[in-house]
Symmetry: C2
Subunit: 147 residues, 2 copies
DNA sequence: GATGAATTGCGAACCGTTTGCATTTGCGAC
DNA sequence: GTCGCAAATGCAAACGGTTCGCAATTCATC
Protein backbone atom coordinates (compact mmCIF):
# COMPACT_ATOMS: atom_id res chain seq x y z
CA UNK A 1 0.00 0.00 0.00
CA UNK A 2 2.65 2.49 0.98
CA UNK A 3 5.41 1.54 -1.45
CA UNK A 4 5.78 4.72 -3.43
CA UNK A 5 5.84 3.94 -7.12
CA UNK A 6 5.43 7.68 -7.61
CA UNK A 7 8.98 8.50 -6.52
CA UNK A 8 8.45 11.88 -8.14
CA UNK A 9 6.26 13.00 -5.24
CA UNK A 10 7.36 11.58 -1.93
CA UNK A 11 5.11 12.06 1.07
CA UNK A 12 7.48 14.75 2.33
CA UNK A 13 7.22 16.54 -1.02
CA UNK A 14 3.47 16.45 -0.96
CA UNK A 15 3.38 17.78 2.59
CA UNK A 16 5.85 20.52 1.76
CA UNK A 17 3.91 21.60 -1.25
CA UNK A 18 0.72 21.88 0.79
CA UNK A 19 2.42 23.77 3.59
CA UNK A 20 4.11 26.16 1.22
CA UNK A 21 0.79 26.86 -0.44
CA UNK A 22 -0.81 27.61 2.90
CA UNK A 23 1.97 29.92 3.93
CA UNK A 24 1.68 31.69 0.57
CA UNK A 25 -2.01 32.15 1.34
CA UNK A 26 -0.99 33.88 4.51
CA UNK A 27 -1.98 31.09 6.90
CA UNK A 28 0.19 30.38 9.90
CA UNK A 29 2.04 27.09 9.95
CA UNK A 30 1.75 25.73 13.45
CA UNK A 31 3.10 22.49 14.84
CA UNK A 32 -0.28 20.82 14.80
CA UNK A 33 -1.01 21.83 11.22
CA UNK A 34 2.39 20.74 9.99
CA UNK A 35 2.25 17.39 11.78
CA UNK A 36 -1.26 16.59 10.56
CA UNK A 37 -0.46 17.49 6.96
CA UNK A 38 2.69 15.37 7.10
CA UNK A 39 0.76 12.52 8.68
CA UNK A 40 -1.98 12.54 6.06
CA UNK A 41 0.56 12.90 3.26
CA UNK A 42 2.47 9.89 4.54
CA UNK A 43 -0.33 7.36 4.40
CA UNK A 44 -3.10 6.10 2.16
CA UNK A 45 -5.03 5.02 5.21
CA UNK A 46 -8.28 6.71 6.03
CA UNK A 47 -8.05 8.00 9.56
CA UNK A 48 -10.64 8.99 12.10
CA UNK A 49 -10.10 12.07 14.24
CA UNK A 50 -9.08 9.81 17.06
CA UNK A 51 -6.57 7.93 14.90
CA UNK A 52 -5.06 11.25 13.96
CA UNK A 53 -4.96 12.54 17.52
CA UNK A 54 -3.26 9.38 18.77
CA UNK A 55 -0.56 9.59 16.11
CA UNK A 56 -0.07 13.31 16.62
CA UNK A 57 0.13 12.96 20.38
CA UNK A 58 2.65 10.15 20.10
CA UNK A 59 5.10 12.82 18.97
CA UNK A 60 3.56 15.95 20.52
CA UNK A 61 1.66 14.93 23.63
CA UNK A 62 0.85 18.55 24.41
CA UNK A 63 -1.45 18.84 21.39
CA UNK A 64 -5.01 18.73 22.59
CA UNK A 65 -7.81 16.80 20.93
CA UNK A 66 -9.79 19.98 20.45
CA UNK A 67 -6.86 21.45 18.56
CA UNK A 68 -6.89 18.46 16.26
CA UNK A 69 -10.56 19.10 15.56
CA UNK A 70 -9.94 22.78 14.91
CA UNK A 71 -6.95 22.07 12.73
CA UNK A 72 -8.85 19.57 10.61
CA UNK A 73 -11.66 22.08 10.27
CA UNK A 74 -9.25 24.77 9.07
CA UNK A 75 -7.53 22.41 6.67
CA UNK A 76 -10.92 21.51 5.23
CA UNK A 77 -11.82 25.16 4.85
CA UNK A 78 -8.63 25.65 2.89
CA UNK A 79 -9.34 22.66 0.66
CA UNK A 80 -6.41 20.64 1.94
CA UNK A 81 -8.32 17.90 3.73
CA UNK A 82 -11.62 16.13 3.10
CA UNK A 83 -13.73 13.94 5.31
CA UNK A 84 -16.05 11.13 4.36
CA UNK A 85 -19.12 9.94 6.26
CA UNK A 86 -19.63 6.27 6.95
CA UNK A 87 -23.03 5.95 8.59
CA UNK A 88 -22.69 4.76 12.17
CA UNK A 89 -18.91 4.75 12.03
CA UNK A 90 -17.04 7.99 12.69
CA UNK A 91 -15.98 10.00 9.64
CA UNK A 92 -12.55 9.53 8.11
CA UNK A 93 -10.13 12.16 6.87
CA UNK A 94 -7.63 12.25 4.04
CA UNK A 95 -5.75 14.76 1.92
CA UNK A 96 -8.05 16.34 -0.63
CA UNK A 97 -8.23 14.58 -3.98
CA UNK A 98 -11.89 14.11 -4.55
CA UNK A 99 -12.78 10.50 -5.24
CA UNK A 100 -15.61 8.24 -4.09
CA UNK A 101 -15.17 5.59 -1.41
CA UNK A 102 -16.57 2.14 -0.86
CA UNK A 103 -16.84 1.21 2.81
CA UNK A 104 -17.50 -2.35 3.90
CA UNK A 105 -20.07 -2.47 6.67
CA UNK A 106 -18.72 -5.83 7.84
CA UNK A 107 -14.99 -5.23 8.05
CA UNK A 108 -14.76 -1.47 7.77
CA UNK A 109 -12.37 -1.60 4.85
CA UNK A 110 -12.27 1.57 2.82
CA UNK A 111 -11.57 1.44 -0.93
CA UNK A 112 -10.92 4.39 -3.16
CA UNK A 113 -12.58 4.16 -6.55
CA UNK A 114 -12.09 6.33 -9.61
CA UNK A 115 -14.54 9.15 -9.99
CA UNK A 116 -15.54 7.86 -13.44
CA UNK A 117 -17.14 4.81 -11.84
CA UNK A 118 -20.03 7.07 -10.90
CA UNK A 119 -20.27 9.04 -14.12
CA UNK A 120 -23.30 7.15 -15.39
CA UNK A 121 -25.14 7.43 -12.11
CA UNK A 122 -24.29 11.12 -11.85
CA UNK A 123 -25.74 11.69 -15.28
CA UNK A 124 -28.84 9.60 -14.61
CA UNK A 125 -29.62 11.46 -11.39
CA UNK A 126 -29.08 14.78 -13.10
CA UNK A 127 -31.31 13.91 -16.08
CA UNK A 128 -34.10 12.08 -14.33
CA UNK A 129 -34.22 13.85 -10.97
CA UNK A 130 -32.45 17.16 -11.49
CA UNK A 131 -30.11 16.08 -8.71
CA UNK A 132 -26.42 16.93 -8.61
CA UNK A 133 -24.67 14.06 -6.82
CA UNK A 134 -21.87 14.85 -4.38
CA UNK A 135 -20.16 11.53 -4.61
CA UNK A 136 -17.04 12.16 -2.57
CA UNK A 137 -18.35 13.50 0.71
CA UNK A 138 -20.28 10.33 1.51
CA UNK A 139 -19.09 6.79 1.20
CA UNK A 140 -21.01 4.13 -0.67
CA UNK A 141 -21.74 1.51 1.96
CA UNK A 142 -22.04 -2.19 1.36
CA UNK A 143 -20.06 -5.37 1.80
CA UNK A 144 -16.75 -6.13 0.19
CA UNK A 145 -15.59 -9.28 -1.57
CA UNK A 146 -14.09 -10.72 1.60
CA UNK A 147 -17.58 -11.26 3.02
CA UNK B 1 -47.40 13.98 -2.31
CA UNK B 2 -49.89 12.66 0.20
CA UNK B 3 -52.96 12.27 -2.06
CA UNK B 4 -53.62 8.58 -1.82
CA UNK B 5 -54.13 7.16 -5.28
CA UNK B 6 -53.80 3.77 -3.56
CA UNK B 7 -57.20 3.97 -1.88
CA UNK B 8 -56.93 0.23 -1.45
CA UNK B 9 -54.49 0.67 1.43
CA UNK B 10 -55.24 3.63 3.63
CA UNK B 11 -52.68 4.65 6.23
CA UNK B 12 -54.86 3.05 8.90
CA UNK B 13 -54.91 -0.20 6.92
CA UNK B 14 -51.18 -0.23 6.58
CA UNK B 15 -50.70 0.43 10.28
CA UNK B 16 -53.19 -2.28 11.21
CA UNK B 17 -51.56 -4.79 8.97
CA UNK B 18 -48.17 -4.12 10.55
CA UNK B 19 -49.52 -4.27 14.08
CA UNK B 20 -51.40 -7.48 13.42
CA UNK B 21 -48.26 -9.02 12.03
CA UNK B 22 -46.31 -8.04 15.12
CA UNK B 23 -48.92 -9.43 17.46
CA UNK B 24 -48.94 -12.65 15.43
CA UNK B 25 -45.19 -12.80 15.94
CA UNK B 26 -45.82 -12.65 19.66
CA UNK B 27 -44.64 -9.06 20.18
CA UNK B 28 -46.48 -6.85 22.62
CA UNK B 29 -48.40 -3.93 21.18
CA UNK B 30 -47.76 -1.00 23.47
CA UNK B 31 -49.03 2.52 23.16
CA UNK B 32 -45.72 3.83 21.93
CA UNK B 33 -45.37 1.13 19.30
CA UNK B 34 -48.89 1.57 18.05
CA UNK B 35 -48.63 5.35 17.87
CA UNK B 36 -45.29 5.31 16.06
CA UNK B 37 -46.43 2.75 13.51
CA UNK B 38 -49.59 4.76 12.88
CA UNK B 39 -47.59 7.95 12.59
CA UNK B 40 -45.14 6.51 10.08
CA UNK B 41 -47.94 4.86 8.13
CA UNK B 42 -49.78 8.17 7.90
CA UNK B 43 -47.05 10.18 6.21
CA UNK B 44 -44.57 10.03 3.39
CA UNK B 45 -42.35 12.46 5.26
CA UNK B 46 -39.00 11.30 6.49
CA UNK B 47 -38.84 11.98 10.19
CA UNK B 48 -35.96 12.31 12.61
CA UNK B 49 -36.21 10.75 16.04
CA UNK B 50 -36.98 14.16 17.43
CA UNK B 51 -39.74 14.77 14.87
CA UNK B 52 -41.27 11.48 15.90
CA UNK B 53 -40.96 12.19 19.61
CA UNK B 54 -42.59 15.60 19.27
CA UNK B 55 -45.54 14.17 17.36
CA UNK B 56 -45.91 11.23 19.73
CA UNK B 57 -45.72 13.44 22.79
CA UNK B 58 -48.32 15.81 21.38
CA UNK B 59 -50.80 13.01 22.03
CA UNK B 60 -49.04 11.05 24.77
CA UNK B 61 -46.85 13.44 26.73
CA UNK B 62 -45.86 10.68 29.15
CA UNK B 63 -43.92 8.80 26.48
CA UNK B 64 -40.25 9.39 27.09
CA UNK B 65 -37.69 10.12 24.41
CA UNK B 66 -35.70 7.06 25.38
CA UNK B 67 -38.78 4.94 24.81
CA UNK B 68 -39.06 6.37 21.32
CA UNK B 69 -35.47 5.32 20.68
CA UNK B 70 -36.08 1.85 22.05
CA UNK B 71 -39.30 1.47 20.11
CA UNK B 72 -37.67 2.49 16.85
CA UNK B 73 -34.87 0.05 17.52
CA UNK B 74 -37.32 -2.79 18.09
CA UNK B 75 -39.34 -1.89 15.03
CA UNK B 76 -36.14 -1.97 13.00
CA UNK B 77 -35.21 -5.34 14.43
CA UNK B 78 -38.58 -6.63 13.30
CA UNK B 79 -38.16 -5.20 9.81
CA UNK B 80 -41.00 -2.70 10.18
CA UNK B 81 -38.95 0.49 10.14
CA UNK B 82 -35.77 1.58 8.39
CA UNK B 83 -33.50 4.52 8.96
CA UNK B 84 -31.34 6.40 6.50
CA UNK B 85 -28.13 8.27 7.22
CA UNK B 86 -27.62 11.77 5.91
CA UNK B 87 -24.09 12.78 6.86
CA UNK B 88 -24.11 15.64 9.33
CA UNK B 89 -27.89 15.68 9.56
CA UNK B 90 -29.57 13.28 11.96
CA UNK B 91 -30.89 10.04 10.47
CA UNK B 92 -34.47 9.77 9.27
CA UNK B 93 -36.94 6.94 9.77
CA UNK B 94 -39.73 5.54 7.64
CA UNK B 95 -41.76 2.38 7.26
CA UNK B 96 -39.72 -0.35 5.63
CA UNK B 97 -39.93 -0.52 1.88
CA UNK B 98 -36.33 -0.51 0.75
CA UNK B 99 -35.60 2.23 -1.74
CA UNK B 100 -32.73 4.68 -2.16
CA UNK B 101 -32.97 8.32 -1.14
CA UNK B 102 -31.62 11.54 -2.55
CA UNK B 103 -30.99 14.17 0.11
CA UNK B 104 -30.32 17.78 -0.82
CA UNK B 105 -27.48 19.21 1.24
CA UNK B 106 -28.79 22.72 0.69
CA UNK B 107 -32.45 22.43 1.55
CA UNK B 108 -32.62 19.03 3.24
CA UNK B 109 -35.31 17.77 0.90
CA UNK B 110 -35.52 13.98 0.74
CA UNK B 111 -36.61 12.24 -2.45
CA UNK B 112 -37.41 8.60 -2.82
CA UNK B 113 -36.13 7.05 -6.01
CA UNK B 114 -36.87 3.65 -7.51
CA UNK B 115 -34.39 0.96 -6.66
CA UNK B 116 -33.80 0.32 -10.40
CA UNK B 117 -32.13 3.70 -10.72
CA UNK B 118 -29.09 2.14 -9.06
CA UNK B 119 -29.13 -1.19 -10.87
CA UNK B 120 -26.31 -0.28 -13.23
CA UNK B 121 -24.13 1.07 -10.46
CA UNK B 122 -24.83 -1.95 -8.29
CA UNK B 123 -23.73 -4.22 -11.11
CA UNK B 124 -20.64 -2.16 -11.90
CA UNK B 125 -19.48 -2.17 -8.28
CA UNK B 126 -20.10 -5.89 -8.03
CA UNK B 127 -18.23 -6.69 -11.26
CA UNK B 128 -15.30 -4.32 -10.94
CA UNK B 129 -14.80 -4.18 -7.19
CA UNK B 130 -16.53 -7.24 -5.80
CA UNK B 131 -18.59 -4.84 -3.71
CA UNK B 132 -22.22 -5.42 -2.81
CA UNK B 133 -23.85 -1.99 -2.54
CA UNK B 134 -26.36 -1.36 0.25
CA UNK B 135 -28.18 1.45 -1.44
CA UNK B 136 -31.05 2.01 0.96
CA UNK B 137 -29.39 2.46 4.32
CA UNK B 138 -27.47 5.53 3.22
CA UNK B 139 -28.75 8.49 1.30
CA UNK B 140 -27.13 9.80 -1.85
CA UNK B 141 -26.20 13.36 -0.98
CA UNK B 142 -26.07 16.25 -3.39
CA UNK B 143 -28.09 19.28 -4.40
CA UNK B 144 -31.56 19.21 -5.84
CA UNK B 145 -32.99 21.08 -8.81
CA UNK B 146 -34.18 23.96 -6.67
CA UNK B 147 -30.58 25.04 -6.06
C1' DG C 1 13.33 41.38 20.00
C1' DA C 2 8.83 43.64 20.46
C1' DT C 3 3.94 43.69 18.75
C1' DG C 4 -0.72 42.16 17.58
C1' DA C 5 -3.55 38.88 15.86
C1' DA C 6 -4.20 34.07 15.29
C1' DT C 7 -3.90 29.76 17.55
C1' DT C 8 -3.65 26.79 21.35
C1' DG C 9 -4.53 24.15 25.84
C1' DC C 10 -7.75 23.32 28.91
C1' DG C 11 -12.17 22.48 30.92
C1' DA C 12 -16.76 22.78 30.62
C1' DA C 13 -20.80 22.46 27.80
C1' DC C 14 -23.16 20.33 24.27
C1' DC C 15 -26.15 17.05 21.50
C1' DG C 16 -27.86 12.85 20.20
C1' DT C 17 -28.06 8.44 22.00
C1' DT C 18 -27.72 4.55 25.36
C1' DT C 19 -28.06 2.37 29.83
C1' DG C 20 -29.44 0.73 34.65
C1' DC C 21 -32.97 0.31 37.53
C1' DA C 22 -37.32 0.49 39.88
C1' DT C 23 -42.13 0.66 38.33
C1' DT C 24 -45.79 -0.32 35.25
C1' DT C 25 -47.96 -2.77 31.52
C1' DG C 26 -49.66 -6.17 28.13
C1' DC C 27 -51.50 -10.37 27.66
C1' DG C 28 -51.88 -15.48 28.30
C1' DA C 29 -53.46 -18.68 31.83
C1' DC C 30 -56.58 -19.47 35.08
C1' DG D 1 -62.36 -10.74 35.31
C1' DT D 2 -58.00 -11.01 37.74
C1' DC D 3 -53.51 -13.05 38.50
C1' DG D 4 -48.68 -13.53 37.39
C1' DC D 5 -44.73 -12.60 35.08
C1' DA D 6 -41.80 -11.32 31.49
C1' DA D 7 -41.39 -7.41 28.70
C1' DA D 8 -41.57 -2.60 28.20
C1' DT D 9 -41.49 1.94 30.24
C1' DG D 10 -40.18 6.42 32.75
C1' DC D 11 -36.64 8.56 34.59
C1' DA D 12 -32.12 10.09 35.50
C1' DA D 13 -27.61 9.46 34.88
C1' DA D 14 -23.79 8.20 31.76
C1' DC D 15 -21.94 8.19 27.37
C1' DG D 16 -19.03 9.35 23.03
C1' DG D 17 -17.98 12.46 19.78
C1' DT D 18 -17.70 17.26 19.02
C1' DT D 19 -17.83 22.27 20.02
C1' DC D 20 -17.05 26.40 22.78
C1' DG D 21 -15.17 30.25 25.90
C1' DC D 22 -11.32 32.04 27.66
C1' DA D 23 -6.79 33.02 29.27
C1' DA D 24 -2.08 31.92 27.90
C1' DT D 25 0.97 31.12 24.10
C1' DT D 26 2.88 31.35 19.49
C1' DC D 27 3.67 32.79 14.80
C1' DA D 28 5.07 36.05 11.49
C1' DT D 29 5.96 40.84 10.76
C1' DC D 30 8.25 45.07 11.87
Amino acid sequence: MSESNEAAHSPADRADRVLRRLRAQGERITTCRRVIVELLASTDDHLTVEDIAVRVQAVHPEIHLSTVYRTLESLEDWGVVEHVHRGHAPPIHHLADAHPHLVCESCGRVSDIPVEALDDLTELLRDRFGFELHATHFALMGTCARH
